[in-house]
Amino acid sequence: MNKLELSSLYQLTMVRFRLFLREPEAIFWIFIFPILLAVGLGIAFRNRPADVLQVGATTTQLMQALAADKGLTAVTVDEAAGTHSLATGQILLLAIQRPDGVVYKYDDTNPDARTARLVADRAVQAAAGRHDAVRAANELVHETGARYIDFVVPGLLGMNLMGSAMWGLGFSIVEARQKKLLKRMVASPMPKWQYLAAFLLSRLVMLLIEVAVFLTFTRVVFGVPFRGSLVELGILCLMTSLAFSALGLLTASRARTTEAVSGLMNLVMLPMWILSGIFFSASRFPALIQPFVRALPLTAAIDAIRGNMLQGMSMSQQTAPVTILLAWVVVPFAVSLKIFRWR
């Protein structure tokens, strides 16, 4: 045996790798799942050429007036059939010819239907002879970095770092405790800090792979921009992973069964899935709960990663989220080391 093989920290870290790599499900969740999610969302929210909206009209004349606008396709239907098409989502708007003018039937809570209302009315008025008072022309811009996929990639990255760190630490530790392996380990001369350090070391290596694979994929396939420093992006990912490792450790520090810790971890992660702005901006939540939302580690992580990737901000420009993230590294670690149950 060489020197490295005799090092307990090396052995403990290798055990973590082996156990991880021999768990195919874990590999799926950490490496494959985020990519599938990004692909799915990328397809669903891809930037299409401006939508052509489906509308219906009760007379042929009205239908032709509507169809004259490039933004609409129109069909002729009677009022009853049109109402049914409206209810089943086949058309967004039904234009009904009445003796005294035109009535538009549509759902005003649906943004597409509201657009259809504006476009349809413009077409009807133009057909009736209205002229624009001001001459207007369009200049179209499709800016990388302003698309939904650009927004959601940092969110998915944050979510993935949270999941892999929390499950990676929390579940494994409680499983070892439940199987009395933890007790057996402390009955040996193993330095306790090395047991926890091995988790962090293996997490670090996994993190490199996880982040690199995901970001390379989104870069190549979607052209997601990296406007900030890559080194700082790496540091932010590392801090995120450490913060959630600490939280995972805290969650696992007392639990005796894997069932208990699974429930506990979902409880801890659930508010962040909803509130931390993975899929939409966290600023949509009411001002009243904003302080809480901002204090969550995932909100801070995603904000900071978005700032780096999309706006090219440096860490010194993002002191608030970086400070919050740091606090989430230090405090849970300190608390869990105090209350950790070794048997």
Binding site: Q11, M14, E23, A176, K180, R184, A187, S188, P189, M190
Partner: protein, 352 residues
Amino acid sequence: MTNGAATLGTRVAEGGTSLLLRGVKKAFGDVKAVDGVDLEVLRGECFGLLGPNGAGKTTTIEICEGLTEPDAGTVELLGLNWRANAGELRQRIGIQLQETQFPDKLTVEETLRLFRSFFKRGISVDESIKTAQLEEKRGARVGGLSGGQKQRLAMATALVGDPELLFLDEPTTGLDPQARRHLWDLVDELKHAGRTIILTTHYMDEAERLCDRVAIMDHGKVIALGTPNELIASIGGEDIVEFAVVESIDSPVPKAGSPPHGPGPVRWDPGPGAPVAHGSVDEAMLLGIPGVKSHRVDAGLHQLAVSETHTVVPRIFTALTEHGLHLSEFRTHSATLEDVFVRLTGRNLRDE
């Protein structure tokens, strides 16, 4: 020096005391798990803690292993104590705990490499695999091992540090008879290699087979201490006679409240209102037979501690026949540690 000490002389001279407990107590809430235990284990000895489940064996051994802090008393291992010398003690002892499940997806060799890395000095991984007779399973995942192989792996993880003192907590519980014997052979080898071993068990045959000395524990106390032979001799009777009776094979009507007698062993059960004077086993009558030292009934089975079995047995037959009783079961065996426990507590080891 007395004769008795002289036989142990070489050992004592070589080593002295490996483990010393004085007045050790531990309570969990209202339950006194260990209630004032004193023990001394000599170097090179195989010492057994024997007792039923819940007697305090595991708590005692875990106090020795430094995993549980005693409420009172002193614990000394190899002349050191847990408070001042924990680091050194961990290096010098080997521990096998009850119910450790090693990770299923590691191999035998990987598991042992891991544990070997914790010790500054010790035997090689190969050697530990060889000692535990796991050569064929070296590359196999732990999840695929049998119960006996898993237990031998646990033993190997305790041996990789070449410990001066080895703790085995219920090493054969849950194993099939063949795996048990296999493990006993392994312990035998370790004994012959001169290691000090402390083991707990609730199998008296295991204690008799493996241990130089045994402490019998019950309700957190040591109720007997000595070599298996000394303990067996201490209850007086050299042999145990066990029998069960039926009142009369001629009795045509089964008693109300009793099931009809089928073939096979029948339990003697007087039932409510049954005539007691006639046909029942009279304790005074049995104790009156010369050579019978004691009597107790356990689930219809009468147990007599007797000396000079060959002369006593015919007298028992005669006495029972005179009282109109017929035997449905009869056997004799040499007294065991089980009988010692029964005599001391009035309960069977496995009652709990």
